[in-house]
């Protein structure tokens, strides 16, 4: 491909996105984007519902630390496509299986984030809270959880990004989302359409990353003085 055709492809991709015929309706860009976000939301929420309590439990009691080390190692080494195809094959084609796979992929980062937040708190801070007469529950909810928020947000950030990225592959196993256009384009050798889908997916991921960046910056600004001189 020479430079001329490259520009041409990009122009065609943008034209594809801008075409009103591709935007509305049940198979339109907005609907697919909605599906994509819904998958991300469901999978991340499901993962968080399991990972946050577990991470807090490990962080508070100090039991089962090996699980955290294992989880973070596995998170990096696990091929997402393998997990997705395996679960899809075992559970049958439908939207439930890919959602479960996405949740599995989101688990380790959230678990590590929840744990790291509690682990980073100086022991003296926890002792001080106990000395003030706080119950274990109060120590957790009033001291540990608020102080550990930045790391938890960090974990949620990597998990969400991972899920947003992998949700593109859901269409490969028969689901919807922005990946639909990508695989349709791949099948019909329609490069502009593949490119359009990819640009949308990249744009979504970057938007997500920027949103989380702003969120963690805001939380960082509001960190209590007690820990600001760490």
């Amino acid at each position: 491909m020479d430079a001329g055709t490259n520009v041409n492809y990009l122009a065609q991709a943008f034209a594809w996105i801008a075409d009103p015929a591709h935007q509305g309706g049940p198979g339109g860009i907005w609907a697919r984007l909605g599906e994509h976000l819904l998958y991300t939301l469901i999978a991340t929420t499901a993962a968080a519902a399991i990972a946050i309590p577990l991470g807090y439990w490990i962080g508070h009691t100090g039991r089962g630390r090996g699980l955290i080390v294992g989880a973070t190692g596995v998170a990096r080494a696990l091929p997402t496509l393998g997990v997705l195809t395996l679960i899809a094959l075992l559970a049958g084609v439908g939207v439930g299986a890919p959602l479960a796979a996405l949740a599995v992929l989101a688990l380790p980062s959230i678990l590590a984030g929840a744990y790291a937040g509690l682990d980073a708190i100086p022991a003296s801070t926890i002792d001080a809270a106990r000395a003030l007469g706080m119950s274990e529950w109060q120590v957790l909810t009033r001291v540990e959880i608020p102080l550990g928020l930045p790391q938890l947000i960090g974990g949620l950030r990597s998990a969400t990004l991972q899920v947003v990225a992998t949700a593109t592959l859901v269409a490969y196993v028969g689901g919807g989302g922005l990946g639909r256009y990508l695989f349709l384009g791949l099948k019909t050798q329609d490069y502009p359409q593949m490119l359009a889908a990819s640009l949308l997916a990249v744009g979504l991921a970057i938007t997500g990353e920027v949103c989380f960046g702003v969120l963690s910056w805001l939380i960082g600004r509001r960190r209590p003085l007690a820990l600001s001189n760490e």
């Binding site: 491909m1 020479d2 430079a3 490259n6 492809y9 990009l10 991709a13 190692g73 990096r76 080494a77 696990l78 091929p79 997402t80 496509l81 393998g82 997990v83 195809t85 395996l86 899809a88 094959l89 075992l90 990004l161 947003v164 990225a165 992998t166 593109t168 592959l169 490969y172 196993v173 990946g179 990508l182 695989f183 791949l186 490069y191 593949m194 490119l195 889908a197 990819s198 640009l199 997916a201 990249v202 991921a205 970057i206 997500g208 990353e209 960046g213």
Partner: protein
């Protein structure tokens, strides 16, 4: 297990293709991150730009990147070069930061002593700072290697052979054993390469041996 026994050569072939994509990408991200990481270490102002830039690169989903790249650099979607470039980008996103941090961790007094002994500029960097940053560089490289080994597999949906082909083929033909073989061999290969990196570190950084 029966599947693996009957398809031994297919797996082996996929394994080699996998390595042929992953190893150049890992090596390139290491080598290219050295000057960029040094820049981030030497000039504070560039640090923010590089660190933010690399976190943005890492946020880009891999499959869409593999499709957008050809439009930017003129490769084709099914070309292995395309995959190596994409993986190098992800590798650098992790490695530039590790390189800057590793150089940061070198004891200031040591650097000042080296300067006093007459080491200057590039010679001090190569003879003193880089070797002392070795353990940090190795730690970064191991992370890059593990994540690259897993990332390679995504390119299989575009028809580029790797261990990921076992996922796409297994899914299309409904063979669970093939997918499981793919996951296990991807993980095993990642561990193997990781061990190899540790061994290289053991050879090149003899002063760190006592600690382990």
């Amino acid at each position: 297990m029966t599947w693996l026994v009957n398809n031994w050569s297919t797996v082996l072939q996929a394994l080699w293709s996998h390595l042929a994509l992953a190893i150049p990408a890992i090596a390139l991200s290491f080598v290219l991150s050295l000057p960029v990481g040094w820049l981030a270490y030497r000039y504070r102002w560039s640090r923010f730009v590089l660190v933010t830039g690399s976190s943005l690169i890492y946020a880009i989903p891999s499959l869409p990147l593999l499709i957008v790249l050809p439009a930017l650099i003129g490769t084709t979607v099914r070309s292995p070069v395309n995959v190596v470039v994409a993986l190098t980008g992800y590798g650098m996103a992790l490695m530039v930061r590790s390189t800057a941090d590793a150089l940061d961790s070198v004891n200031r007094d040591t650097v000042i002593s080296a300067t006093a002994l007459g080491y200057s500029g590039i010679r001090r960097l190569i003879a003193v700072e880089l070797p002392l940053a070795g353990p940090g560089l190795l730690a970064g490289l191991r992370v890059v290697s593990v994540s690259t080994m897993a990332l390679v597999t995504v390119s299989a949906v575009l028809g580029i052979p790797s261990l990921g082909t076992l996922f796409t083929d297994g899914f299309q033909r409904g063979i669970v054993a093939e997918i499981v073989t793919g996951i296990v061999s991807t993980a095993a290969l990642a561990v193997l390469v990781d061990r190899a990196l540790v061994a290289i570190g053991w050879l090149l950084l003899p002063w760190t041996r006592a600690r382990t």
